[in-house]
Structure formats: structure tokens, C-alpha cells
């Protein structure tokens, strides 16, 4: 059984249809890249999978391990193992990062019927992961993402990914706003989490990110549909020829 199965998904925002019958199958151990021009519906897809309000699904379905994801609240999806790394992680003043991480991790564990982490175990785990991502301790004491640079915010997303150990990671434009060094650190963090038990969907406009996170499959989206799928070479091809050739195909 596929980990994620998106079947003929149709999605509206207000009166506009954004996705017109999108299908995508992702199995454990795979890394899929979704590429496409601005406005092709890439971010909409990631938001609908994570359960962001404001989108109306008018047709199709999303199955996660065979379960109907669209019937679940966003927090239930997280507990089942869906993780969205935000394109623009929000700042939450007054909520200390450490407190947030512990509350979120324990909420997920509780929802799965697992025991909550003890404080020392939790701290040990966070410190280990933070160190590998080059996240200083004082960042963890600050409000969630408050005053973080673009790179720090993205690293904080990857820190959460490592901590929550999701089955499906969706990385929405992880490279946006990152310089090459920040990108490399973030990509290393993601690569360390590649595993036969986990799948990743990497959403990006540019092929640059895929030099660091090597995908198994590449899908091109245009005007709310997947118009072409292939292997890694498809990304390189796009780099050469751009998206224009697909605009008509859609």
C-alpha cells in the first residue's frame, strides 16, 4: 500500500478552482520533487494535505496509509505522521521554542496512545538534534521563530521534523530566502532524515534545491495538474528549457 495516495483531487479557494484533478502516489522510502511555476498549485497541494482551513475539496480523495486524510483535523494528521515544513514559518511571540516543542511532541504521542517523554529524555533528544543542525541553545529559549533569520526558521522546521519523526515530510519551498550555506545546512538536515520508513515530498520552483536533496521522482505541475512525471533527469531538463513548454500542455 502506498503511504500517500492523492486521487483526482479538485480544490477550490473561494470561487476559483486551483487543483483540477491531481493525482500523486508516494511510497515509503521515496523522495518526490514537485516542481512548477508560480501559481501552478504546488503550495495548495501541501496545504490541503496538512489540513489548512480555507480550501474546499470538491472532488477526489487523499489516502494516508489507506485512511481518509480529508476526514481528519490538522492535529490528527500530524499525530498520524504527516509533517509540513512551512514555506513561511510563523513567529509566535511569548511561546518559548522549547515549551512549544515539548507540548507538540507530547500531544502527538498522546494522540497515538504513546507515553509522554520525560523532561530529561526530551531535553537530551532536542539538544542532540539541535547540535546536528547547528542550532544554538539560546534560539531554543526564545519565542518560536521570533527574531530568527530565514535560515534559522527553516532549520527550526527541520529540527521539528527530526523530533516528531513523521512518516511523510512535505517541504514547501524550503529553499526560498536561503543563501547557499544556509541551504546546504538545511539540506544536510533533511538528507539525514531520509529513511526506508519515511517519504518526502519536496516542493520547489527551482532545480537548485534538488542538487542537494536528490529526488527519486520528479513531477511537473502546471495549472493545477501534474503534467509530467519522471526521474531526476526531468528536473535537469526543466533547468534547460523552463516551464513554458508545459503551460500549453496543461
Amino acid at each position: 500500500m502506498a503511504l500517500l495516495e492523492v486521487r483526482d483531487l479538485q480544490v477550490r479557494v473561494e470561487d476559483r478552482e486551483i487543483l483540477h484533478g491531481l493525482s500523486l502516489t508516494v511510497s515509503k522510502g521515496e523522495v518526490h520533487a514537485i516542481m512548477g511555476p508560480n501559481g501552478s498549485g504546488k503550495s495548495t497541494l501541501s496545504h490541503v494535505i496538512a489540513g489548512k482551513p480555507g480550501y474546499e475539496v470538491t472532488g477526489g480523495q487523499i489516502l494516508f496509509n489507506g485512511e481518509d486524510l480529508l476526514e481528519m483535523e490538522p492535529d490528527e494528521r500530524a499525530a498520524k505522521g504527516v509533517f509540513l515544513a512551512f514555506q513561511y514559518p510563523v513567529e509566535i511571540p511569548g511561546v518559548a521554542t522549547m515549551n512549544f516543542l515539548r507540548t507538540a511532541l507530547n500531544a502527538q504521542r498522546k494522540a497515538r496512545g504513546e507515553s509522554e517523554y520525560s523532561t530529561p529524555d526530551f531535553l537530551k533528544k532536542v539538544r542532540e538534534v539541535a547540535k546536528s543542525l547547528n542550532i544554538p541553545q539560546d534560539m531554543l529559549r526564545r519565542g518560536v521563530n521570533v527574531g530568527f533569520s530565514g535560515g534559522e526558521k527553516k532549520r527550526n522546521e527541520i529540527l521539528q521534523m527530526a523530533l516528531f519523526e513523521p512518516q511523510l515530510c512535505i517541504l514547501d519551498e524550503m529553499d526560498s530566502g536561503l543563501d547557499i550555506d544556509a541551504l546546504r545546512i538545511a539540506a544536510d538536515g533533511v538528507n539525514a532524515l531520509r529513511s526506508p520508513d519515511r517519504a518526502m515530498v519536496v516542493i520547489t520552483h527551482y532545480q537548485r534545491l534538488l542538487n542537494y536533496i536528490i529526488p527519486d521522482f520528479v513531477h511537473v505541475m502546471s495549472r493545477g495538474r501534474v503534467v509530467k512525471s519522471g526521474g531526476r533527469e526531468l528536473a535537469l531538463e526543466l533547468e534547460e528549457s523552463g516551464y513554458a513548454q508545459f503551460e500549453d500542455a496543461a
Partner: protein
């Protein structure tokens, strides 16, 4: 003209309340005269209403309708019922002074530490001392308070005394459909240091009571006071508290009010900075649900130069509740180099919730820094989704954001223990929402 002929039903009812109470109110002679005059002042105006600017958003004629008869002195059964309520609001290490239904109960209270004198207000009034019935601020509810105050505590901290234990005044209500009227004084001598917590709680059986408290606080030159009010009255009660502060030079005064209880409540603070070089911080949080109405009205009067004042206020308003914040900063002509700032924010958790923010600056000096800001809005959907996408259920996500929101005000509390107590009361309110 015969005034009596013009009386309304409510006017006649309050006449009867005062007439019935007169015989049992402590103090004769001059004290009785002073009470009579205060009552006349109240009677002329009646309960405050929306046509008075100061009471615009809190119309007591609508919200309170009438003044209930005074509660009787608590009997043994009432004192027994007060005990669990006292336990619930206990603060570790505090020297507790307990008022049950408006009467100071020595047997439930702790002895004061060295350097502090504590007397019951009724003892002071019985000595024909009228000073405590006069107040520097004028308000009709203060007049009513002077007329009907049954008891209170008169606390005096000597010059230079640094208290090791917080003083806690606990107002416990056990009465039903009655007025509880108290008046207290805290006087800090020069260079004294103290912490004061005032708790308003209801014992089992307390119902529909009306609490009217007045507290006079005098902070001597160089003194430091941290004060926290934790208002957790029963949800059908009325609580109007007037706090009148006389603030000396080079003081540090830190005041915090947390209201999560009561059907109708108002905390009105009149703070006069009368000595140079003082730092004043007055903050508060309202946590309201159902049809609760809570009003914080502060008048900060910079009468002299070189003082700073800071006001941070947060309201969380759910269901059909109504929160009011009125903050007036007055800078007198001589009060140059005044630095006064006020920020009030309201979080509306339902479409029917209401928050009124009314900041006012009256500046008569030309070399000052003053500012204010006010906002009202809902929880940020983007933040909520982020938290939910990380596994927090809707109420949990809301609770975390609300905690952060009120935390900005609670953080201002100078005393660690008080900060924890305020946070605990806020957390209880949030848990009750689940």
C-alpha cells in the same frame, strides 16, 4: 424643594439599606456624621450610569440595579464554609488577613511580622477616628463605601522595614444576595518594602453578593511595593473596588489586577505620583466568558516631574462577555520629564464578545514622553494552523496562544510568587474552557 419626593424606587430601597445598617455600623459621633454625609453624597447621585463619562461602559443602574442590604456578621457555620475557600487561594509563606463577608476574622488570620501594625478598621472607627472615611479621590461608589464600610484592615509598615512575608488580604464571601462593604489601608513608611496580594473568593453557598471595597495605599518616599489583586468571585457576584494611591518620591510601585471571576466587576485605580523620581507599573488581565462584564479604569496623575508610568493591559473575551479598559494619564503643568506609556490589547474569542478600550492623555507640560496604544482582534488563524499542524488540538493551540498573550502582562509582576499565582489562575481559566 423636597428632595424626598423626587426619589425613585431604587432611591427609597437604598435609604432603607442605610437606615437598617446604621445601628450595627462601627463608630458613633463624628464617624456616624461622616457616614451620613457620605451617604447623602451617594444618594444625590445614585448608582453611576452610562451618561457619566467615567462610567460610560459600565452602567451600574443596568448591571447592578440596586444596592443590596448589608450582609450579616458571619456566624460559626459561615466561618467553617470560608475555610476551604481560603485553602484554595493560599499563597505559600503569606501572612494572611481574612475578611469574611466584610468582617475581619482574627482567628482565621495570621499574626503580623515585626515592623508591621495591623488593626481592624472597626476598632479604628470605634475610636472616633474619621480619617479613614475620607479619600482623596471622588467617586460615588467611594462615597457609598464610606457610608457602609463594616470593617477592613489598617496596615502600617514602619520606616525602613523590609517585610520578609507577603501580606495577603483575603475577601471571602459566604453571603447570598447581600452587600459586602470593606475599606482598608496600607501605609508604607519611608524606605519600607512590602508585597501585598488581595484575593477575592467565594465560599460554597455565596450567591449574588455585591462586594464594594476601597483600599487606600500610601507609599512613603523611597518605599517599594508589589501588589497583586486576584479577583475570582462567584460568577453571579458584583465587585467594585476603588484603590486610591498616594505615591511619594523615589518609590517603586508595581500593581497587577487579574479578573476572571464575578458577573460584574470594576477595578478603579486612582494613582497620584506626588514625589519625584518614582517608577510606577500598573498592569492587568481580564479573562472573561459567558456574560461577564469587567472594567479596569485607571487614572495615573503625574503631579510632579521625573516620574515614569507603564500600563500594560490584556483582555481575553469569550462568548458574550464584555471587557472595558479606560486609562487616563494626566501630566500636570509642573510635571516635566514625565515618561508615561500605556498599551491595551484585547483578544476576542467569539463574534459576540466585546472590548472597549479608552485611552486618554491629558498633558499640560511640554517636555514629556507619553504614548498609548490599543488593539482588539481575534486569534491569528495562521498561528493557530501552525500549532495544529504540529499536533495541538484546537483548544490546546488556542490555550497556548492565549497564555502567551496574557503572559506579556503577567510578566510585569515584580514578585515571583505572585507571578506564579497569577499564571496559575489564568491556567485554571484556560483549562475550564476545554
Amino acid at each position: 424643594m423636597n428632595v424626598a419626593l423626587a426619589k425613585t424606587d431604587a432611591g427609597r430601597a437604598v435609604d432603607r439599606v442605610f437606615a437598617a445598617a446604621r445601628d450595627r455600623l462601627p463608630g458613633g459621633g463624628r464617624v456616624a456624621d461622616a457616614r451620613g454625609k457620605a451617604f447623602e453624597a451617594f444618594e444625590r447621585a445614585g448608582l453611576p450610569h452610562r451618561r457619566l463619562e467615567e462610567w460610560k461602559y459600565t452602567d451600574l443602574r443596568v448591571l447592578m440595579r440596586e444596592v443590596l442590604p448589608l450582609a450579616g456578621a458571619p456566624d460559626a457555620a459561615a466561618l467553617e464554609r470560608a475555610r476551604p475557600a481560603l485553602q484554595a487561594c493560599a499563597i505559600d509563606g503569606a501572612a494572611r488577613l481574612v475578611l469574611v463577608d466584610g468582617v475581619f476574622v482574627e482567628t482565621l488570620s495570621d499574626a503580623a511580622e515585626a515592623g508591621v501594625s495591623v488593626r481592624a478598621l472597626r476598632k479604628v472607627l470605634e475610636q472616633d477616628d474619621t480619617d479613614l472615611l475620607s479619600a482623596s479621590a471622588t467617586d460615588v461608589m467611594i462615597s457609598l463605601n464610606a457610608a457602609l464600610a463594616t470593617d477592613g484592615v489598617v496596615i502600617e509598615v514602619g520606616d525602613g522595614a523590609a517585610l520578609t512575608r507577603p501580606i495577603q488580604i483575603v475577601h471571602v464571601a459566604t453571603a447570598a444576595s447581600a452587600s459586602i462593604v470593606t475599606r482598608s489601608l496600607l501605609k508604607l513608611g519611608k524606605g519600607a518594602r512590602a508585597t501585598l496580594v488581595e484575593s477575592f473568593v467565594a465560599a460554597e453557598g455565596a450567591k449574588g453578593y455585591q462586594s464594594n471595597d476601597a483600599v487606600m495605599i500610601a507609599v512613603g518616599d523611597g518605599a517599594e511595593l508589589s501588589q497583586v489583586r486576584l479577583v475570582a468571585d462567584s460568577l453571579d457576584a458584583v465587585n467594585v473596588t476603588s484603590a486610591i494611591y498616594a505615591i511619594g518620591a523615589r518609590t517603586k510601585l508595581n500593581v497587577f489586577n487579574l479578573t476572571s471571576g464575578g458577573a460584574v466587576s470594576r477595578f478603579q485605580g486612582f494613582l497620584t505620583l506626588a514625589g519625584e523620581g518614582s517608577e510606577l507599573s500598573v498592569n492587568g488581565v481580564n479573562l472573561l466568558k459567558g456574560t461577564q462584564h469587567a472594567d479596569t479604569t485607571l487614572v495615573v496623575d503625574h503631579a510632579v516631574p521625573h516620574c515614569t508610568s507603564r500600563e500594560i493591559f490584556r483582555a481575553v473575551v469569550d462568548d458574550r462577555a464584555h471587557s472595558v479598559f479606560q486609562g487616563r494619564i494626566i501630566v500636570r503643568p509642573d510635571a516635566q520629564k514625565t515618561d508615561g506609556k500605556m498599551m491595551t490589547r484585547a483578544l476576542l474569542l467569539s463574534d459576540e464578545a466585546e472590548a472597549d478600550n479608552k485611552p486618554e492623555l491629558e498633558i499640560f507640560a511640554d517636555d514629556v514622553t507619553c504614548g498609548h496604544g490599543a488593539t482588539a482582534g481575534a486569534l491569528d488563524e495562521g498561528l493557530l494552523f501552525y500549532l495544529r499542524a504540529r499536533g495541538l488540538a484546537e483548544k490546546e493551540a488556542q490555550a497556548l496562544l492565549i497564555q502567551a498573550f496574557v503572559g506579556e502582562a503577567i510578566e510585569q509582576i515584580a514578585d515571583d510568587k505572585f507571578r506564579e499565582a497569577a499564571m496559575a489562575q489564568a491556567e485554571r481559566w484556560l483549562e475550564a474552557r476545554h
